[in-house]
């Protein structure tokens, strides 16, 4: 009797990540505009204290804009990683629950073989092999194949973001916007029927 793969209920909803991004960005932009609007009028020290902006104390408007641009860039990078890893979470969750539930779709047999070959359990199964299994078991589904291919193409970005961005991406600096990554993540889950 095989042991069940332990799964969590913390795989994140892609739409919540999108809401999080939009709200956070709006807050950053509002705060930037509020500070810029108050500059030169009065009570500057109070504004500074209220916003806990030690790193831009005595900054000019341009420097404050640059600071907030960097914060928004960072937010976008984190949200891109969140979208991509969340999509992976949904796909791996499906992998595990199919095996746990002895799902009758032929893909489950492939998943079980991948698990058996893994020295480190379900977490050690190479993600690209799970994606390849999806393509292999849905021949002729060009829509799914295309969406998976597009998603696989941005996994380099996902690794780069997840592991500290210390190397140069072979494709150069990422050009995908947050909206692009949201779309790619959404599309692959929808094509697989895993849309939350």
């Amino acid at each position: 009797m095989s042991l069940s793969i332990s799964v969590s209920n913390h795989v994140q909803d892609i739409n919540l990540i999108d809401d999080y991004y939009r709200q956070s960005r709006h807050c950053l932009e509002s705060r930037r505009n509020l500070i810029l609007g108050e500059l030169g009028i009065n009570d500057l020290e109070n504004a500074l204290a209220s916003f806990n902006l030690e790193s831009v104390r005595f900054a000019s408007p341009d420097e404050i804009r640059n600071f907030y641009d960097k914060l928004i860039d960072e937010l976008e990078n984190l949200v891109k990683l969140d979208f991509l890893s969340s999509a992976e979470g949904h796909i791996r969750y499906d992998f595990a629950t199919r095996i746990n539930n002895s799902n009758q779709h032929p893909i489950t047999s492939t998943f079980s073989r991948l698990l058996a070959a893994s020295r480190y359990g379900a977490g050690g199964v190479e993600f690209k092999k799970i994606l390849d299994a999806w393509v292999q078991h849905h021949p002729g589904n060009t829509d799914m194949e295309g969406k998976i291919s597009t998603y696989k193409a941005v996994l380099d970005l996902r690794h780069w973001l997840a592991h500290g961005r210390w190397w140069n991406l072979s494709s150069g600096l990422p050009t995908h916007t947050v909206e692009d990554i949201h779309q790619i993540s959404n599309d692959v889950l929808k094509a697989m029927g895993l849309y939350p």
Binding site: L39, E45, N46, L53, R57, F58, P61
Partner: protein, 190 residues
């Protein structure tokens, strides 16, 4: 006879309520330029003893120049700059802006070994949160405050210059002859 306290109250009320378009930016700019001139005159006085010839060579030299800067609220205007020559190296003081977050203006001082901000401020204390209590449309004075609050112009005129390292913005060191020459030593190679 006019009530001076009432006049001050009205002046401050007007200033507090002045929308951005009614702020006297020209006055703000003039006060800022006065404070730059005051600092640069002090610097020239502090450096004058080292400008003399010793063994045929001056110990240092300095030249003042002019540079155009642009601020959104003030437009383009000229500011004085100073370049201090020490041996083969130069330390430059270039005004950056008067409209900054948490101060009344900033000059950037840059040398071969780094840079420091020279900030015009009415305090060297970290920022604090202040609350104003409104009773009807009257702002209650803080129990500790005895005098009326100075206007912004008065605050700028009474402000001092402080060195602030860009990466330690809570550290404020009053600019004096001693601290200025110490800073110069730290900004060039020994």
């Amino acid at each position: 006879m006019a009530n001076a306290e009432f006049a001050t109250f009205l002046k401050q009320k007007k200033e507090r309520e002045a929308p951005r378009g009614q702020v006297d930016w020209e006055q703000r700019k003039a006060t800022w330029l006065d404070k730059i001139d005051e600092l640069f005159r002090n610097i020239e006085a502090w450096l004058a003893p080292y400008k003399g010839i010793e063994g045929g060579e001056p110990l240092l030299g300095y030249i003042t120049k002019s540079k155009k800067i642009h601020e959104e609220l003030l437009g383009s205007y000229s500011v004085p700059t100073i370049e201090i020559q020490m041996g083969s190296e130069v330390v430059a003081l270039v005004p950056r802006a008067t409209i900054i977050l948490g101060g009344f203006g900033r000059i950037d001082m840059t040398g071969p070994l780094g840079s420091v901000m020279v900030v015009l401020s009415d305090t060297n204390e970290p920022p604090t949160i202040q609350f104003k209590v409104l009773l009807g449309d009257r702002i209650l004075p803080h129990p500790a405050s005895k005098d009326a609050e100075p206007t912004i112009e008065e605050q700028i005129r009474n402000s001092s210059w402080y060195f602030v390292p860009p990466n330690q913005r809570r550290t404020m060191l009053l600019v004096t002859e001693k601290s200025f020459t110490d800073m110069l030593m730290n900004m060039v190679r020994r």
